[in-house]
Symmetry: C2
Subunit: 411 residues, 2 copies
């Protein structure tokens, strides 16, 4: 295949083009799954090697002080903060996204003790829903998780809503919620708001402090490139921090962890949202990965993301019209996150066939083929090649090979 | 200093002596803090480097299947299982110890819904107590954490006890609880039992299945050498697993995580105790570190541990009698874990002075100097050198230097 000059020019003119050099990407692969697992930043390898050999191996227990491991939840949080419009000291990093959803929703419920309804939508990522269900059930005081269609959220907020818990970008379709409008609506009704920014942080501008939500959480291993299972983050609005009664009350969230008191007293500030001993290896990988964002204008990231998505929609629809694919999310770039999804009745097999062609996207049941654009390393040429591969797979029926139709555990 | 032949002979005759070669220990350091952070196993460096470069960098999202990242909580759990007398499929690894204490105590309470008392002792590690306090408070149904002196636990168990939550080895004094007797007492009273094996796993033989406790948790970064903030483990007795209603209901604990159902259904077996995306970097470091245990007889580990402790007590008391140190834990090796603690009114400064002399132990408020023995790499010569250094520090008043008396954040 040859790349049309118009596509080559897009990459040539891309102000973010050089950022791709900060990543270690395999040859021969078009990677459109950075929304699931971000690519490897080149310097993570050396940083981790140094932490293992020098800080752990050589420093042993002294690393907690000498290498400031103990501060990592906050220092890494402060690196994430500007990417989501949060001031310093409002973001902590540790534990998984699921655990952080639990912390946020539990704390939000405690701030609204007279109400019983956690409101969310059917487009939310399932783990958020499961965590809220488990919490509501275990509290045993008639708490409930109420789910509505994403388009009905605004109308469903009412004076019974204790907590509005939503994910900004729909993990399947890429559909964007209007954070400001929904937060305002919830606040007007007296609800506390929790945003999951898993598919937002590092993908598009977020102004969480400006939006005014009390809580947010997000993922370290998608657009932030912290590596598989990287620790997640939690944001708590500054003026709310002192009012938060943490549910998960571990020693790292204690006012004086090394006094070894018998009674829990919450730490000041965002520290109270931390629980156990910080996961140092995961934190340093994420810390190193976040250095890539120095000097990056997130508005440029968003502009490129929208252009990549628009190019993909246009090329796929032009090439694959009548071949069974159908756009699954918003057509307008302004209404979607940094991904484009298409439906196909045999979406699983089509995605497997694309992977065999060197184009990595992913599949989400029942029929969604998902393609993410990480503007720091995704090129217009990648998007073009992916559309070409999609046409090849569909037109030549490559996806019908039996080996592509057996489902594996993770896709 | 010269090493007496009797000490050299102990190391020469040590059946575990060669295991020290499996660790990368810095020169000139006597490390007696493996009970706080285990030393670096030599092969972790290369394993992590390969996971980063090949599995993450090269494999990208495919690593979840191709490199079986998704199975790590169970595969690493199965490596830990024999060290605590647990059958395969009863141990999962993910999240911090604090989070796993929460999972275990919450599940234990749910198994005993008519009762309200979590019984523990004042020698338990504070994070366990904080987690139980937070849980009891948040449940809001008159649950309470009741604390008694460690020697009074057996008498305090009664028909109001919902959960008996204890740490096997006292983190300060090394005092061992009688797991069998206390578990039997609790079961006879109708209580559910949670053991924290943080200072037991890898330090001494544990037969958790034989003991019959419903739950246990433990730490990956002490005697298991998984690295700073390594993920922790949770054990659930096989016959109890199907009855457990997890409180932290994340997608990894779902029966079908990749079906993306809206409703939570717990996975079969130990998987239901997992929550969010597995922390792969931390898990592979721990996985690699656990390979060291192949072929190790834990009875030999215990025998050496007891001998190291006895030697340290004898040498310190012989050399430092009248210099203000006093044995803080059990004198009988059979009654303590793999550590020896001494009290000194200026224990913090003494520990700092020892560190300056190249002997790393640690301090626990208010006056405990703690020395841990990791029989896979601690030599009799190390213990002898530590006792010599203690004598030097006390006899020459080295600890009185002002620089040793300022408390740092972590010790």
């Amino acid at each position: 295949m040859t790349l049309p000059p118009r596509i080559a020019k897009l990459d040539h003119d891309d102000p973010l083009a050089a950022k791709r050099l900060a990543f270690d990407l395999p040859d021969g692969v078009v990677y459109l799954d950075g929304n699931s697992l971000g690519a490897l930043p080149r310097t993570v390898h050396a940083r981790l090697a140094d932490v293992v050999a020098t800080e752990w191996g050589g420093g042993l227990i002294r690393g907690w002080n000498q290498h400031k491991w103990i501060d990592l939840p906050k220092t890494v949080g402060d690196r994430i903060a500007p990417l989501i419009g949060a001031p310093k000291g409002t973001v902590a990093v540790a534990d998984s996204t699921s655990i952080n959803v639990f912390k946020a929703v539990a704390a939000a419920l405690a701030l609204n003790p007279e109400r019983r309804v956690i409101l969310s939508d059917t487009g939310n990522f399932p783990t958020d829903l499961y965590v809220a269900q488990g919490l509501a059930h275990a509290l045993g005081r008639e708490h409930q998780l109420k789910l509505v269609d994403p388009v009905d959220v605004a109308d469903a907020v009412d004076e019974t809503t204790a907590v509005l818990m939503l994910t900004h970008v729909d993990y399947r379709t890429g559909r964007l919620h209007d954070m400001t409008a929904l937060t305002d609506k919830a606040h007007a009704a007296g609800a506390v708001v929790v945003w999951d920014l898993a598919h937002s942080a590092g993908a598009l501008p977020v102004d969480i402090a400006g939006v005014g939500a009390e809580f947010a959480v997000g993922c370290g291993y998608k657009y932030l490139n912290g590596g598989p299972g990287a620790p997640a983050f939690i944001y708590v609005r500054r003026d709310v921090q002192a009012k938060v009664a943490p549910f998960l009350t571990g020693w790292m969230g204690h006012a004086k962890p090394f006094a070894f008191d018998l009674d829990y007293r919450p730490a000041r500030g965002i520290h109270r949202m931390t629980v156990g001993t910080p996961p140092v290896l995961g934190l340093v990988a994420l810390d190193e990965a976040l250095k890539i964002w120095r000097g990056v204008d997130i508005a440029e990231v968003r502009a490129k993301s929208m252009a990549l998505g628009d190019l993909f929609v246009k090329e796929v629809e032009k090439r694959c019209g009548g071949l069974g694919v159908e756009l699954a999310g918003p057509r307008r770039a302004a209404n979607r996150g940094s991904q484009v999804s298409f439906r196909h009745p045999e979406g699983y097999a089509v995605v497997q066939a694309l992977i065999a062609e060197g184009v990595i996207g992913d599949f989400r049941a029942p029929d969604i083929m998902r393609f993410g654009f990480a503007p720091l390393y995704t090129r217009y040429a990648d998007v073009y090649a992916a559309a070409e591969a999609m046409e090849r797979v569909l037109r030549q029926d490559l996806w019908r090979a039996p080996k592509f139709r057996m489902k594996s555990k993770v896709t």
